[in-house]
Amino acid sequence: MRMKQEFTLTIFSENQVGLLNQITNVFTRRSLNIESLTTSESAIAGIHKFTIVVFSTREEIDKVAKQIEKRIDVIKAFVLTDEDIIHQEIALYKVPTKTLLNGNEIEKLVRQYGARILEITEEYTVIEKTGHKHETQELFEKMDQYGVVQFTRSGRIAITKLKAELLDNYLRKMEMGKKILN
């Protein structure tokens, strides 16, 4: 059995009802756990993009990608590793404003971790940090010593290090190869 590692799948699809279900089903069938999932419209109008993080073997993830691509409304699925992408997550932390006022520990952490304050009310303060999961997690653990009342983290978004968008080339090829099937 080969080593499991973290993979990021970027999947481009038509914007169809039920597509998320179709994609996650492929993971469910193989009892693969999805670590994180983000979905939104892509740079190309009408095309949706899913970014899915999963721990798997190279062998298995390639099979998963092909089974996802096989769905009629999926345009293309790309299997990427950390070396291929720049990725980010965003985390929000809510702390009672009085902990902020009672000392400078929170302020220090905000500076140290490059976080920023989004909103301050009399009762609570919302702090935002973007980064990799381990960074947002570390900040959470440090800040939680002073009492974090709410913490939430987004799924991963990723962009490839390649010059051109992977999908652009593919779509161009598809349109060129458009031929009538008999």
Partner: protein, 577 residues
């Protein structure tokens, strides 16, 4: 999709005709060439049935007795004709009853369009009467599915459904249509779909892979071709024979590859898999090259993957990229339709003979005859065997009937001992192994191939899973020949219990009704054979009878199918007893 269909309509110069969604559905089916469909009415599909009533002469609706029967019949029709089978059901239970057939069609790559009625769109999601989320339910078992909520989307949805069902690797498509969409009127125009941006049905053959495969083929000393249903689905039977003729390579077929070449083709070395022939199984691990042609290395073919094709390089000709490297690593994958890729290979390879290697298979055949086949076909014991019945019936039909089977021992016996002269002569449930498939599938097959005899082999277990379809035979007058191989057991499960569970026959013995009386109740001619001396006569009566016929043969109670590759074992460990 809505926007696409609307633009499609706007852009056309065709004359639009105002009609209801129900009429549009019927018209769209006719535009796709549908002449027959199988179904069962109900509340949420009634507008469509009303529309069907007006076109009875052009569009034959076969009223089945259960929705499972409708889908299996559509499958039988599709398998023998190569066309898209069409089934139509109502919402809720109608749709869920169709699920087994849809799953069967998915795993066996059968082109189907299943239409289901749905509650009115205003009721969706409210747990309305006979509401089921059928799109959600069938999502993993359809090639594509879609819910139509507006009449004007019907033509595009149907055009897309047929295109997807029949193109590339075929499969079932379900279109769910709300009742209000069936009632509403709109301006109908039909435009077939020939292109979907996100879908590439047939990958282009890569000449570099043909080159690489050619080198392997030319160097191979012990090559073996594995012939799957892809050859039949791709209409590539001639291309297959041309390749085999020139290369001299022995060829084995999978269960669904049966009849892709004639049974008596000199290089045909028999069937692969759990109950296949001795030679092709045992020689798989001696071969130095495996050429898989339109097959997917099902676990019933490969057994233990770690001990499969251990000495061989693998060339995999396949239309579906997701099958490449899924179970068996392909040293040379050749994506594409085998109808295109096989001739490219044939042209490149050197003409060759593999007589000595082929003789090794024939030596295996002799062992199999000595140890199994002779006793099965000409038993020394008084009890009738399934093998001898199949063999005699095949002969009585001049080895040129369409064989339909249910699932179990009789299915394996049919596959082993029935003989074929032409392609598309087998309809069987392979991947899903659906008991109850046989009888309705035979109905569809006969309606699809009215000029060929259609002979069903079915066991006493599977027969009773869809026995209500005798009603369809009676009402629609479908002249199928039903051979009931009755051992009063769920034979295949019993065989496993005997071999692997210490003969503890848990819930496998059946106390059966009198099938003769049941046939009589449906006005179907029937005969029962218990003795060998009466068999040939009865078979002749069945063959000569014009209408439907039930031939019940009481076979040995505890007969076993051998050879056998036990589940999870290597193909090398095939057992002869």
């Amino acid at each position: 999709m809505e926007t696409k269909s609307q633009t499609a309509i706007k852009g056309k110069s065709q004359q639009a005709v105002r009609m209801t969604g129900a009429d549009a559905l019927v018209k769209s089916l006719q535009n796709e060439g549908t002449k027959i469909l199988f179904g069962y009415p109900g509340g949420a599909i009634m507008p469509v049935y009303d529309a069907l009533y007006s076109v009875q002469d052009e569009l034959h609706h076969v009223l089945v007795r259960h929705e499972q029967g409708a889908v299996h019949a559509a499958q039988g029709f599709a398998r023998v004709t190569g066309e898209v089978g069409v089934a139509i059901v109502t919402s809720g239970p109608g749709a869920t009853n169709a699920v087994t057939g849809i799953a069967d069609a998915m795993i066996d790559s059968t082109p189907l369009v299943v239409i289901s009625g749905q509650v009115g769109s205003s009721l969706l999601g409210t747990d309305a009467f006979q509401e089921t989320d059928v799109v959600g339910v069938t999502q993993p078992i359809t090639k594509w599915n879609y819910q139509v909520k507006k009449a004007e989307d019907i033509p595009y949805a149907i055009a897309r459904a047929f295109y997807i069902a029949r193109s590339g690797r075929p499969g079932p498509v379900l279109i769910d249509i709300t009742k209000d969409a069936q009632f509403a009127s709109f301006d109908y125009i039909y435009e077939p779909v020939t292109y979907i941006r996100s879908y590439k049905p047939i990958p282009e053959v890569d000449p570099a892979q043909i080159e690489a495969a050619t080198q392997l083929i030319n160097l191979a000393k012990k090559p073996l071709a594995l012939v799957g249903q892809g050859v039949i689905l791709g209409n590539a039977e001639k291309e297959l024979l041309a390749f085999l003729d020139k290369s001299g390579i022995p060829a084995a077929w999978t269960l669904l590859g049966l009849s892709a070449m004639p049974s008596d083709y000199p290089q045909n070395v028999g069937m692969l898999g759990m109950h296949g022939n001795y030679g092709p199984n045992i020689k798989t691990n001696e071969a130095d090259l495996i050429i898989a042609i339109g097959m997917r290395f099902d676990d019933r073919v490969t057994g233990d993957l770690k001990a499969y094709a251990t000495n061989a390089k693998v060339i995999h000709l396949e239309i579906d990229d997701a099958e490449i490297n899924k179970n068996v690593h392909a040293d040379v994958p050749i994506l594409g339709n085998v109808k295109e890729s096989l001739p490219m290979l044939t042209q490149k390879i050197s003409a060759n003979k593999h007589d000595a290697w082929l003789q090794e298979f024939r030596a295996c055949d002799r062992i199999e005859y000595d140890r199994i086949i002779n006793e099965e076909l000409a038993p020394s014991k008084p009890g009738l065997t399934m093998g001898e019945v199949v063999h005699k019936i095949s002969n009585a039909f001049n080895d040129d009937a369409i064989m339909v089977t249910d699932v179990g021992q009789h299915q394996m016996m049919g596959s082993r001992y029935f003989k074929f002269k032409q392609s598309r002569s087998v309809v069987t449930s392979g991947g899903l192994g659906t008991m109850g498939f046989g009888l309705p599938a035979a109905n569809g097959a006969k309606l699809g191939a009215p000029d060929r005899p259609v002979c069903l082999f079915v066991g006493d277990g599977g027969f009773q899973m869809t026995i209500q379809e005798l009603g369809t035979i009676f009402q629609t007058k479908i002249p199928v020949k039903i051979v009931l191989l009755n051992n009063n057991f769920l034979g295949m499960v019993r065989q496993w219990q005997e071999l692997f569970f210490d003969s503890r026959y848990a819930s496998t013995e059946l106390i059966n009704p009198d099938f003769q009386i049941i046939a009589k109740g449906y006005h179907i001619e029937a005969l029962k054979v218990t003795e060998r001396e009466n068999l040939e006569d009865a078979i002749q009566k069945m063959v000569n009878h014009e209408g439907a016929f039930l031939l019940e043969v009481i076979v040995e109670k505890e007969g076993n199918v051998f050879p056998m590759v036990p589940s999870g074992a290597s193909v090398s460990d095939i057992r002869l007893e």
